[in-house]
């Protein structure tokens, strides 16, 4: 049963690739994905084994690569109507990791996150739309430095095993609307998030 779910998720992923090439694949995809996400129904908390990475490109190549070590979150997948699924996520900018302490201090300072004044960055979903067999677009509100803005993330189921599920989540967010525009245009305004979220069913 558990293995079965994973296989279905994987098959759904393949079906998406197929769909891109041929409209004939559509029926198969819709069916496989319905099963995969239906079976994943339930409420989950996000495990500490997850990873929250981000990248900000710089002019001339390279850039800042970092991650957050401290975060918490939960999500629920509605088996009957995936669109009613929800995600809540909080990360603590104080826990930011970068390749150098000077960069970390800069990111924590009031130049960027102002972690002292605003210790939390939160994401709350407002709408989840399935986009394929194992993929969904999550619309939500990201709040940082006291400013809330609509944001969109792309999620893909990468693994399912029993009460555990893993998502690969990506999203690109403009930082200047949050008052974090420091360093543009040397450093891109766009922050690319790349996350692997491990959820365990409650």
């Amino acid at each position: 049963m558990h293995d079965n779910g994973f296989q279905k998720a994987a098959r759904a992923g393949l079906a998406v690739v197929f769909l891109a090439a041929s409209p004939v694949g559509f029926a198969a995809t819709a069916q496989a994905s319905a099963d995969a996400l239906t079976e994943a129904a339930g409420s989950y908390h996000i495990d500490k084994t997850s990873s929250i990475r981000f990248a900000v490109d710089q002019i001339g190549g390279g850039g800042i690569r970092g991650s957050f070590g401290d975060y918490k979150g939960s999500f629920s997948i509605d088996g009957r109507d995936v669109g009613k699924s929800t995600v809540m996520f909080t990360l603590y900018p104080k826990s930011v990791h970068a390749n150098e302490a000077r960069v970390e201090d800069f990111l924590r300072s009031d130049a960027v996150f102002d972690a002292e004044e605003y210790p939390e960055v939160t994401f709350r979903s407002t709408a989840v739309t399935r986009t394929g067999g194992s993929t969904a677009t999550i619309k939500g509100v990201l709040t940082a430095r006291g400013k809330s803005r609509p944001t969109e993330l792309q999620a893909t189921v990468t693994e399912r095993r029993g009460g555990a599920i893993a998502f690969h989540v990506t999203g690109s967010i403009y930082r200047s609307p949050y008052g974090m525009g420091v360093g543009t245009p040397l450093y891109s305004n766009l922050v690319q998030f790349d996350m692997t979220l491990h959820g365990t069913r409650n």
Partner: protein
Amino acid sequence: MSRSKGRSYGAIAMALHWTIAALFFGQILLGFSMERVRSMALQFDLIQWHKSFGFLILALAAVRLCWHLAVRGPRPAGGMTALERRAATFAQAALLAMTLVVPLAGWALASTSTLNIPSFAFNLVLIPHLPLAPSAQAEAFWRETHELLAYATLLLAAGHAAAALRHHFLLRDDVLGRMLPGLPGADEPGARAARPIRRTIDNA
């Protein structure tokens, strides 16, 4: 090699001199204050302005060096002791060299910094790093060197400026007028001659 006509510096040498002098003092002030602001965002921006103006000074100083080699300045001013003349020549040569060396040391600092922050002069021109290996040690070395040379050059420039003002206000000769348009230079009829007593010393 041509010598500038008459006894004054030419318009281009003057324009370069005063532009570089103003930028240099501004650059020291900027460098000093950017190290002491509290806001890290402001500090980041100020450092980028500092780098941009530093590259501008470097470019102008390179032009000036070429100009200096192609068109020599007027004959040394009269009415000075051999020591004064040597001190003036040395200070001017050192200042010319330092307006190249100080920004080059700053460039080396930016290039060896492990932060690898690009140099995007005035948000217009992407200037590559010098081919130096970044490391904490190299960065610290070039920071020390850059700061030390910058402040040493400030002292030298202050002495140089004080000497020029001494010529103008105390010795009342035409040395400043040779470089500063608007003052009665050596070419104009109203030129001030060096006091006779200075001439006597010079001729002794």
